[in-house]
Amino acid sequence: MADIIFNIAAVIALAAFVITFYRIIVGPELGDRIVALDAMTIMALSGIAFLAHFLGRIIYLDVALVYGLISFLGVIAVARYMERGL
């Protein structure tokens, strides 16, 4: 019962991921694309946490932590590039 509801939640998160990817493709400017990328990262973190629950391995939560850290640094770097160039 609980596994079925967890699978439905993961499918909904995947649908949100796909809908956000549309904004990366058609976003008119760099700002829209990087905002969508930031939201997609958080959705991917939820997906990785679901994968850790699904496979029963706690080690994937470390992967999620490192992925969040690198994504945060990437957003900061793009914002700095938008503000004053490389």
Binding site: I5, A39, M43, A49, M82, E83
Partner: protein, 122 residues
């Protein structure tokens, strides 16, 4: 234990609903600032609920899930703030002309009449 897993699964379902709302907001909002607002707040709450649900289903994972949650709660508003600051400094103006909100329209009309000097002092 089974009851706890079902409660955790329902909380995770609510979190994924918030993630879907954030995606629809990013899909439909008309302006970069609007997209940033709906994309940051809704994803923060959605990921928090998702992690709480997984922590209820696996009670021995609370340490790493708490670290992940605190990390997201610190870095997600921070990155949004840095992005908004960069967009403001490169001169991107917020959406005023095409807004459907009557308050925003009144403010815009008052501002334009004030700029041209024809209207009353607001």
């Amino acid at each position: 234990m089974e009851i706890l897993a079902i409660i955790g699964a329902l909380i995770s379902l609510a979190g994924s609903m918030f993630l879907l709302l954030a995606a629809i907001g990013i899909f439909r909002m008309p302006d970069t600032y609007n997209r940033m607002q709906t994309g940051t707040k809704a994803t923060t709450l959605g990921s928090l609920l998702f992690f709480i649900g997984i922590g209820l289903a696996n009670p021995s994972w609370w340490g790493k899930l708490l670290a992940l949650t605190i990390f997201i709660f610190i870095t997600n508003p921070l990155s949004s703030h840095v992005l908004a600051r960069a967009l403001h400094f490169i001169g991107k103006s917020p959406l005023l002309k095409g807004s459907k909100d009557p308050d925003v329209r009144d403010d815009l009309a008052a501002f334009e009449s004030l700029e041209t000097g024809k209207g009353d002092q607001v």
